[in-house]
Amino acid sequence: MNLSKKIVLLGHFGVGKTSLIRRFVDSAFSEDYLVTVGVHIKKKEVVVNDTTFNLIIWDVEGNTSIEKARSSYLLGTHGFFYVFDVSRPETFENLAEELKYLEENFPGIPYTLIGNKYDLIENDTSQDYFTQHHIFKNCKFTSAKTGNNVEEVFISLVSKLL
């Protein structure tokens, strides 16, 4: 069985959404920040629990809030990633509202919270901040740069789509 699933990455600009997809789909990374205008769509096949998933990943341009995103981009989404940058507080200071918006407007659609650029705070006391706040309880931390945890977060979201 081949299942086509639409995955959308949301979050502020510059948090590394494009880099996460590039790491996951092409196993590549670039330090340069190139802004995403509009949407890029990539495809990758993954097998989870003997099921083949055809992931169609929507790399949406960054916005300070989901409300500002073009609503048509979110139509028919099967799973969301909400990505923030662990080194830039402005990208996670309104998390509660953002996640509430997702839950209210896309009920039943699974999402995963991702704290990207974790390599920047490795061996850093600011890690404590994320362990102390309840909102980060189910957050997954990734580094598109090192590749750490990237594959895992995609697979974990897909397994929620089963």
Partner: protein
């Protein structure tokens, strides 16, 4: 004709594709992409694959703006519309690549600028936090040191009154006292810096005469450094007003530090102090007095001149006896800023230094009237003071301070706040002296227990709070909680008795 022109421009940028419900191309133009009939659109690009589930339920048109597509090695950025018309499904692809690519660098710049803006703000906040931490740390450590220092200075004070001391012992004691007082000055300096940086500095606005203030300071230093062959010259222009409104304590502190510096760094030559007032420049009713302190001393090197006003820089300078000179220049700079003035320094290594600063002052109006002389019966009525102190060393210090005092103050000491309340019920006291921290209770709570006591005899007894925490906010807290007055540690016997005199006179 118009239609023709329109078609000429837009036709090549617009492609309309008709689909059946399964996504099979029924009809199409080939203006943007070369698409064949009867092919599956969903196979051309994952975008179409992911919107395919919308085909069946489509009623209202849906617009997908700014979609990046790559088909057969051709990359475009398009607005794509999904339209249902009389049961037929249409997809339009409008190629806006040029338009979107043009805006790309603008968005890139905008986003980068925003990221940078937040980054700078974050770094600024971090610095503020660090500065706040430093100031709190300084204030706390200051507090911790003040208590033992108070005991040291207090007991040394008492020891000077001992007539049995030998010459050698007196000399030793003298040095110990000087060292202790120096330590106190350093503690005050440190606290001043942290107060200024926390914005807690209190600026007075009272009338005073600047002439005697400067003369006395110069006299003090000339006598202190009488062993150095230095000539002094004081020039106060007659246009400097006699009585001005401002903060004499802070002005004194500024001049003290600058004149002290001049004497310290000058081994021979002269020190010149000049004051004048630009009487033509008056802003908001304020005149500006220019002060200049120049010496023929060692001077500062080019490298160090930029940093002499910086925080704690003197602690790092090994050449000029770290710590020895206090934290003077930093305080000078900060105080002048607080007083809305400015300071400049010119220096040549080996030749000398000139500090110039300008401060705004209001000219005080002349007041007439006789000074009132307090009247009294001349008979000394002994006053009873209750002291709440749990530490033995401090108890002993109080006992010694009040021993044979010529004001005939009688003291009683209790160890705990609870005992004090018992005694207050039984006897009438003229004053209570207490501190801020007890093992069983916070001083503020004890204070409230006294001032809000239902027995008027107790709640009307004035309380003098003695604390090592000299931070302004702490003082305000204490005074608003009902204390009559506040005495910061370390204090001398003279300071304590002068404070008692003030309170008990009322």
């Amino acid at each position: 004709m118009i239609e023709k022109i329109k078609n000429l421009i837009y036709n090549k940028k617009l492609q309309v594709i008709q689909l059946d419900k399964n996504g099979l191309v029924v009809d199409t133009e080939n203006t943007v992409f070369n698409i064949k009939k009867n092919t599956k659109l969903t196979d051309l690009h994952p975008f179409f694959e992911s919107i395919a589930p919308l085909f069946e339920t489509l009623i209202e048109p849906i617009e997908f703006a700014c979609v990046n597509l790559e088909i057969d090695n051709k990359e475009i950025i398009a607005d794509i519309n999904l339209i249902q018309e009389k049961g037929n499904l249409f997809i339009t692809i409008s190629d806006f690549t040029e338009h979107y690519e043009y805006s790309h660098p603008l968005v890139q710049d905008k986003n980068e600028a925003i990221i940078e803006k937040y980054k700078l703000a974050f770094e600024r906040d971090l610095l503020f936090e660090k500065e706040k931490f430093k100031n709190t740390f300084l204030a706390n450590i200051n507090h911790e040191i003040r208590n033992p220092l108070n005991n040291l200075l207090g007991f040394m004070d008492i020891l000077t009154e001992d007539k049995q001391l030998s010459y050698n012992q007196k000399e030793t004691l003298n040095i110990m006292q000087k060292t202790g007082s120096h330590l106190k000055v350093l503690m005050d300096d440190m606290l001043d810096i942290s107060k200024i940086e926390k914005g807690e500095i209190e600026v007075k606005h009272i009338p005073f005469n600047v002439r005697p203030l400067v003369k006395n300071l110069l006299k003090h230093f000339t006598s202190k450094f009488s062993n150095k062959p230095i000539e002094t010259d004081l020039e106060i222009d007659e246009n400097v007003p006699n009585r001005i409104l401002g903060d004499p304590t802070r002005l004194n502190q500024i001049l003290f530090n600058l004149i002290n510096n001049a004497f310290l760094y000058t081994d021979t030559g002269n020190i010149k102090i000049k004051l004048d007032c630009n009487d033509k420049k008056v802003i908001d009713g304020k005149s500006f007095i220019n002060f200049s302190i120049s010496d023929t001393g060692k001077g500062f090197s080019k490298e160090s001149i930029d940093t002499i006003f910086e925080s704690y820089h003197q602690l790092q300078l090994k050449k000029i006896h770290p710590l020895g000179q206090g934290l003077g220049l930093k305080i000078v700079k900060e105080l002048i800023t607080v007083l809305h003035g400015d300071i400049t320094v010119k220096s040549l290594e080996g030749k000398g230094t000139t500090f110039k600063f300008t401060l705004p002052f209001e000219v005080a109006k002349k007041t007439t009237g006789k000074k009132s002389v307090p009247k009294g019966s001349g008979i000394l009525v002994s006053k009873r003071i209750l002291i709440i102190e749990d530490k033995e060393v401090e108890q002993m210090l109080f006992m010694k301070l009040f021993l044979n005092n010529d004001k005939a103050y009688q003291i009683e000491i209790v160890k705990t706040p609870e005992q004090s309340l018992e005694l207050l019920e039984q006897k009438k006291y003229d004053l209570i002296i207490m501190k801020m921290v007890f093992p069983s209770k916070n001083g503020l709570q004890v204070l409230k227990d006294i001032t809000s006591h239902n027995n008027e005899k107790i709640n009307s007894t004035p309380v003098l709070m003695v604390s090592g925490n000299a931070v302004l906010s702490e003082q305000e807290k204490i005074l608003s909680a009902g204390a009559k007055d506040f005495l910061p540690k370390p204090f001398t016997k003279k300071e304590l008795f002068s404070k008692l005199g003030e309170i008990l006179k009322q």
